[in-house]
């Protein structure tokens, strides 16, 4: 039950939070649960016919419940540091909670499901707008088609410095690697001339973030090209209907606005 570890040597402790976002059914609760030392607090409600249409389950198969409040997990890092992971409510009608969750957060993880990649566009937009550092983790569902993270980066119209990585949200080691990548990324973005750690301490470990593959993608972006990506991206093979819709975030934004 572990209340937060009590006073360290200096009698104080610090709590941090990381926001876990992504579309409905992308695996946020699973991810939080994979590393949390407490059973994640979750308030889930069984989907009823009342929420059909609000919570589109196409392609998410047998997911029967949806998180309607918030999940959180806790990781005690030392006797003075505690890290909280907060899952965002997946549905857009809970947007109001995002500001609260993001305020003062260390950073965010956007979980992407390649079967429904467009579900994570709002999350990416949100964190871009509020300038919260984030990484994109592609949850490799067993039955989801695999894509090169770089293709996902293009479809999401992400700047080349944003880490994009594959993960298994069920696997604590995988989730740990996401969190490490995020904190490294946050640190690397700090203007810290005093330190002998410029923007490249991201020693890519074994299941490394693939964001250093910036080479070919980088020249593409003089600020404007949003919207020029996308043509020909066929990331979402929508199941029954068959027509592989080409989704990319730039197109999505133009339809939303």
């Amino acid at each position: 039950m572990a209340s937060a570890p009590s006073d360290g040597p200096d009698g104080l402790l610090a709590a941090f939070k990381i926001v876990v976002a992504g579309g409905f059914g992308a695996g946020k609760t699973t991810l939080v649960g994979a590393v949390s030392e407490v059973r994640p607090l979750r308030t889930e409600e069984t989907l009823t016919s009342a929420s059909i249409g609000l919570d589109d389950l196409a392609g998410v198969g047998d997911k029967k419940t949806t998180t309607v409040a918030m999940d959180f997990g806790r990781i005690t890092l030392s006797n003075r540091l505690v890290l909280y992971l907060f899952g965002t409510p997946g549905q857009e009608r809970f947007w109001f909670m995002w500001d609260e969750l993001s305020y003062g957060a260390l950073g965010a993880v956007v979980l992407a499901d390649t079967r429904r990649l467009d579900d994570c566009f709002p999350s990416v937009d949100y964190f871009e707008n509020c300038q919260l550092p984030f990484v994109v983790a592609i949850n490799c569902f067993d039955d989801a088609p695999r894509y090169d993270p770089e293709d996902v980066r293009v479809a999401l119209d992400l700047d080349s410095h944003i880490p994009v990585m594959l993960c298994d949200a069920r696997d604590p080691g995988s989730v740990k690697q996401i969190l490490i990548t995020l904190v490294e990324y946050v640190l690397a973005r700090r203007p810290e001339p005093s330190q002998a750690e410029p923007a490249a301490p991201l020693a890519p470990a074994a299941p490394a973030p693939l964001h250093d593959r910036a080479g070919p993608a980088a020249p593409l972006e003089p600020a404007e090209p949003r919207g020029t990506f996308g043509s020909g991206l066929r990331l979402i093979p929508h199941e029954p209907g068959g027509e592989a819709v080409s989704h990319d975030r730039a197109t999505w934004r133009s339809t939303v606005q």
């Binding site: 209340s3 937060a4 009590s6 006073d7 200096d10 104080l12 402790l13 610090a14 709590a15 941090f16 939070k17 590393v35 407490v38 607090l41 409040a69 918030m70 959180f72 806790r74 990781i75 890092l77 030392s78 003075r80 540091l81 505690v82 890290l83 909280y84 907060f86 609260e100 969750l101 305020y103 003062g104 260390l106 740990k176 969190l179 490490i180 904190v183 490294e184 946050v186 640190l187 700090r190 810290e192 330190q195």
Partner: protein
């Protein structure tokens, strides 16, 4: 639900609706709203008078959770009350001097680079 078993089982939720505990208030009367990861702790007064007559059962639960520094989120989880309710109750207890907000080892919104590195080391050591 399908066959009208009983009106009230645990799925019906608490008999006392959550915001009845706060007198219908959804926001603290005064002071800033507590952050999710603000750390709170019982004061000496709160420790001494943890069963004072003016404390509701929920207040007592909160005070017992706050014998050590805990975050607002943990209090919410420990009491199984909605966050909004816990914030109101905590603010009342703070106003009555029974609970205090514990200052954290960071300045402003941005944690120091050193602190971030501690986080990183902690994560790597998991």
């Amino acid at each position: 639900m399908p066959q009208g078993d009983k009106w009230l089982d645990q799925n019906a939720g608490p008999v006392v609706r959550p915001y009845a505990l706060t007198g219908g208030r959804t926001a603290p009367a005064a002071g800033e709203v507590l952050d999710l990861i603000a750390i709170v702790s019982a004061t000496d007064l709160g420790e001494r008078e943890s069963d004072a007559i003016d404390l509701s059962p929920e207040d007592r639960t909160i005070l017992s959770l706050c014998r050590r520094p805990v975050t607002v989120t943990d209090v919410a989880a420990g009491t199984e009350l909605p966050l909004g309710v816990v914030r109101v109750l905590l603010a009342d207890l703070i106003a009555r001097g029974r609970i205090a907000v514990v200052p954290q080892r960071r300045t402003g919104d941005q944690p120091s680079t050193d602190l971030l590195k501690e986080v990183l080391h902690g994560l790597r050591a998991l």
